[in-house]
Symmetry: C2
Subunit: 251 residues, 2 copies
DNA sequence: CGCGATTTTGAGCCATGTCAATCGGAGTGG
DNA sequence: CCACTCCGATTGACATGGCTCAAAATCGCG
């Protein structure tokens, strides 16, 4: 709702991210650069509307967004996150109000004009293809989320989410292999993973005492990335060494 | 894999279903009818490939399909079902092997030629629009599934699934308000709802003793449709009368 | 320095999972 | 027609993961 126009920030990173996400050539990316003075901004907590037309996209250049359904009784299910380098397309805001997009932090982004995605003859440009590809990738993440909720234990779900976020942020240069910052409360995590806040806290404590993972002041630190990756893959972690073998469950 | 060409079966019902699902005019539907002699068939258990091209669709005219990811250790998560009148598009079989489509029964369907979905000038025909719309509807169901797994109790999940299937089958004339047949084992249901087979059985027993729902010989009977609908909507069922108040949990 | 939001902890309970066994129907072969 | 087998449904006993309630500890902030 609250839109301002501001000068360029992490625009380059977002472009690089889009390129990485969608497999774009450097020359294609350059054609987007002029857009950076049309930057839009939303404040934390604002609801973000999806573009109406199917052929339009909104590229997020900085900030975190979550996609959720809000239940009448105040509960909510978070379906996923939109990060810098990701695209918002009409699908997100579609009819039947399946979900809303809410800014978790201050968010900046640009609308990519239809002309850049669809050539005059009605065919898609390489950029359009790349964006469609990026959108498809986002859809695939839905399957992962379903698997996470349907088959994973609490510890596995948490590991899976952390690894997903790290990998995505990594591609945009916002994470290293073992750390990134995330503006998430434990309540967000709980609403994403289908767990209670209290149980999320407990799993975090376990991870901390295992020296697996810590979250402090919005900074997520992966102390043993490989082990977390294995957990996230649903590989029944057997050998629980060192710390004292609290860790995961045995499926 | 096993494809045969056979004469027309429930082709009309599938067309009517597509029309209902996608909001198609009767005249548009008629243009599909000539396809009915290109019918393809798969045997139960066969894997169904998605069309490769984005603009092609495969219309299912009879039979049940489930979409799942198979885990290396033999477990599986069922993401959803494809029913008569539904479409399979390239998205389903996309790269990264997110899921496979497996025939639960004998399945029949037709490939809709690209020419019917996309006009020579590259724009979508009304039929193409309708099919895209139907596909979008299928995507929306993904959100419902996520909510079901993330926020619902076992009883609510079961009710939600039953209502979803009833409503979809109803639109194709394969269900009445209080009964339909479904080729699902309790294991399929469990893998869909993220529960153990045994617990599915327990919930079914509870429903049976509540006179809410029975499943016998593949026939699903909704004894109290309204109550089930309320349960499926996640409305914390309060008044548990009659039977003795076993029913649902209190969130 | 007090307040609201968030994190942490503890105690106890219930829903759900696991293990083990029985039962019933549908084929199948003799 | 019967014995056998396989698969799915059913049941019981038991273990436990995850939830609820309640309260303290911390943090961010005006």
């Amino acid at each position: 709702m609250s839109r301002l126009t501001r000068p360029c920030p992490a625009f380059d990173a977002a472009l690089a991210g889009l390129a990485a996400n969608a497999g774009l050539g450097a020359d294609e990316v350059e054609r987007l650069r002029p857009l950076c003075d049309r930057l839009e901004m939303w404040t934390a907590g604002a609801q973000i509307e999806a573009p109406r037309r199917t052929d339009r996209f909104r590229l997020i250049t900085s900030g975190w967004i979550y996609e959720a359904r809000l239940l009448p009784d105040g509960r909510r299910q978070i379906f996923g996150y939109v990060l810098p380098g990701d695209l918002i397309c009409s699908r997100h805001g579609a009819r039947a109000a399946p979900s809303v997009l809410l800014a978790l932090t201050r968010v900046e982004g640009v609308d990519v004009p239809a002309a850049l995605a669809v050539a005059p003859d009605g065919r898609r440009t390489p950029l359009g293809d790349a964006m469609a590809h990026a959108v498809e990738k986002q859809e695939l993440r839905g399957y992962d989320a379903l698997l996470r909720l349907g088959k994973y234990s609490a510890a596995e779900r948490l590991a899976h989410l952390v690894i997903e976020l790290r990998d995505r942020l990594c591609r945009v240069g916002l994470a290293s292999r073992e750390a990134f910052r995330a503006p998430l409360t434990q309540e967000h995590i709980a609403d994403t993973l289908g767990l209670s806040v209290i149980h999320v806290n407990r799993v975090l404590r376990t991870f901390r005492s295992c020296r697996l993972l810590t979250i402090k002041f919005g900074m997520v630190t992966l102390l043993q990335p490989e082990k977390l990756e294995r957990l996230a893959a649903g590989v029944a972690a057997s050998s629980a060494p060192g710390g004292g073998g609290p860790g995961a469950s045995a499926p």
